[in-house]
């Protein structure tokens, strides 16, 4: 405002210095970003290069047997079926319970010290190491169930599914609550003000609105369950079952457990098989996450907001 004519929009020494600082930090951040992206890319390319060549027809259609390994006709068929069985049962158990608990806690439970405490505990449980769930599963779903209900005293598919269900329950509850939180209060008021009951309001307005969020949470929970190996090892799923049967009380080796055992096998054939199994796990997780994103966007657009 020195009054001597037009303003000059040119950089002075101070601005030059600030610009230099900016360039320096930009470079640092770029290096950081490059390292993580390149590292991840190398890892994925390596895994694909190791695994894909071995993913022939036998890989998909044959089951594993220690002797078959040498004959190169071993595959992941039985492990894949086991995984789908365990994860399917996990979701059937966990989704209704977790969603219902989330809806109850957010919509119905009165605010009190107890519900605050329950909420805090649930969020904390989502961060507990999965080994802890394995030990819990072993103590309750294997040993206690064997003693009280006379179930097989070993890691069954049911015990595995129950363990994984408990493991993802906090994720489901938190995701449901978060999704419900995004529903504007004005929508609830509009419905209740017309003489709808609370449940009608939830059913007709709140859930459709929150559904994308809830579904996304469910898929992410599924992908978390699919990636867990430690709890399954702890409850004692076998490495190999001579006569593979499928059913809640049967037992077998899901893909992630199989990959773990194969990777620690010294034979080249086993390592190749493990590489293939890992690619399958990787792609399945990727696909689930993409599906979650896709569903969220699709359903969100369907709601006219």
């Amino acid at each position: 405002m020195s009054g001597d004519g037009a303003l000059l929009f040119t950089a002075d020494a101070d601005l030059h210095r600030r610009r230099r600082t900016e360039r320096r930090w930009k470079a640092v951040l770029l290096v950081g970003a490059s390292f993580s992206i390149v590292g991840l890319a190398v890892l994925i390319v390596r895994m694909l290069a190791d695994g894909v060549p071995h993913m022939n027809l036998d890989f998909w259609s044959e089951s594993y047997s220690p002797s078959g390994i040498r004959g190169r006709t071993a595959g992941i068929f039985d492990a894949l079926v086991s995984s789908i069985l365990v994860l399917g049962m996990t979701m059937v158990i966990a989704v209704p319970v977790g969603t219902a608990a989330g809806i109850y806690l957010y919509e119905y439970a009165h605010k009190s010290r107890l519900t605050d405490w329950i909420r805090a505990t649930v969020s904390n449980l989502a961060g507990v190491p999965s080994v802890v769930y394995g030990l819990l599963g072993l103590a309750i779903f294997v040993r206690l169930f064997a003693d009280t209900f006379g179930m097989p005293r070993q890691g069954t598919y049911l015990a595995a599914a129950l363990t994984l269900a408990v493991l993802i329950l906090p994720i489901l509850i938190v995701a449901t609550e978060e999704a419900l939180k995004t529903v504007p209060a004005t929508v609830r008021h509009a419905s209740l003000g017309l003489g709808a009951t609370k449940w009608q309001t939830i059913r007709h307005h709140v859930l459709p609105y929150a559904l994308p969020g809830i579904l996304t949470g469910q898929i992410l929970a599924l992908s978390r369950a699919a990636g867990e190996t430690a709890p399954l090892l702890i409850i004692g799923l076998p490495t190999y079952q001579v006569f593979q049967t499928y059913g809640p009380l049967a037992t077998g080796t899901p893909l992630q457990v199989r990959a773990y055992y194969l990777a620690s096998d010294a034979r080249q054939e086993a390592i190749d098989l493990a590489a293939g199994a890992i690619v399958v796990l990787l792609l399945a997780t990727l696909a689930l996450n993409l599906l979650a994103i896709f569903l969220r966007d699709r359903l969100q657009n369907r709601i006219r907001w």
Binding site: K111, P184, L192, L194, H205, R304
Partner: protein
């Protein structure tokens, strides 16, 4: 305090910025006859929490098929009082009340009254237009579907009826299946009114229904209210003194959770009995 006549154009108080009384619509005589009363609030106390009382000793009568305006500075309890009338406050944990509210002689807080059933008869329009994220048609049809089993044809008729009542039919008749959220703010608010009217409530509660709207849209809603009161009793909360003067028959002034004064709008604006009312009306606080 009978109706003032002749040279009453608001020049009574010094420095007053009263709304011109020519704009005052009320023709209501002062004492309300018992048979005219639709809503009778009796000695109402309301608490948000054990020690957070929001309303004290409210006694108020709202005449049938008239418009009652609740005015007062921000935070004085207008919305709280309004939500007592359809028991929406109960949705907040920890709230408590004492006293009575009679609607056509029935105590709304009586043991046999179900708040969900009550809300069907006491409709509400909110400050911010809040249509459901559905089509225009579905918005109006929702309340009907909740309470009645109607054929498609009956439903169509009722939806049209409600939209006509809300002066919206001509603007939306070709876009009934379009998203309600695509309408303008004023249209959305009239849609919300149509949605409330569709189930034929006895009372319509409006909480600052025009505060998010421009003057033209506001004008439309005010015209609409004057027409609607033929069929429903309206209670409106408003921050705009001129709006209260334009549309309401009776005005109640609240201050810090207490009812300071209530009476025919003309009397409240021209000859308030309380200094506090006078100060508020003339814009000297609030």
């Amino acid at each position: 305090m009978s109706t003032t006549t002749g040279s009453s154009d608001g020049a009574t108080a010094p420095g007053a910025r009263r709304p011109p009384t020519a704009a005052i619509h009320s023709t209501e005589p002062l004492p309300l006859q018992p048979e005219e009363v639709a809503i009778h609030i009796q000695d109402l106390q309301f608490y948000y929490d054990q020690d957070a009382q929001a309303l004290w000793d409210i006694d108020l009568e709202c005449p049938r098929h008239r418009i009652t305006a609740l005015i007062g500075p921000s935070g004085c309890g207008k919305s709280t009082l309004l939500r007592c009338l359809n028991r929406m406050n109960e949705l907040i944990d920890g709230t408590r009340y004492e006293g009575h509210i009679f609607l056509e002689g029935t105590d709304l807080y009586g043991t046999e009254v179900d708040p969900v059933a009550l809300r069907r008869h006491v409709g509400m329009v909110f400050q911010k237009p809040n249509p459901f994220p559905k089509s225009v048609y579905e918005n109006v049809a929702y309340g009907l579907r909740l309470h009645q089993k109607l054929t498609k044809k009956e439903l169509d008729e009722r939806v049209q009826w409600a939209l006509e009542k809300a002066h919206l039919w001509d603007e939306v008749k070709d876009r009934l299946d379009d998203a309600a959220t695509g309408l303008s703010g004023g249209q959305q608010q009239r849609l919300c009114i149509a949605r409330a009217l569709a189930v034929e409530p006895k009372v319509l509660l409006m909480d600052e229904p025009c505060s998010a709207l421009d003057p033209v849209a506001t004008q439309k809603i005010e015209d609409l209210m004057l027409e609607l009161k033929k069929d429903v009793t309206i209670v409106i909360v408003t921050h705009s003194m001129s709006q209260a003067a334009r549309v309401s028959d009776r005005t109640a002034f609240l201050y810090k959770g207490k009812l300071i004064e209530a009476g025919p709008t003309r009397q409240i604006f021209e000859a308030p009995r309380e200094d506090l009312t006078e100060q508020y009306i003339t814009g000297r606080f609030g």
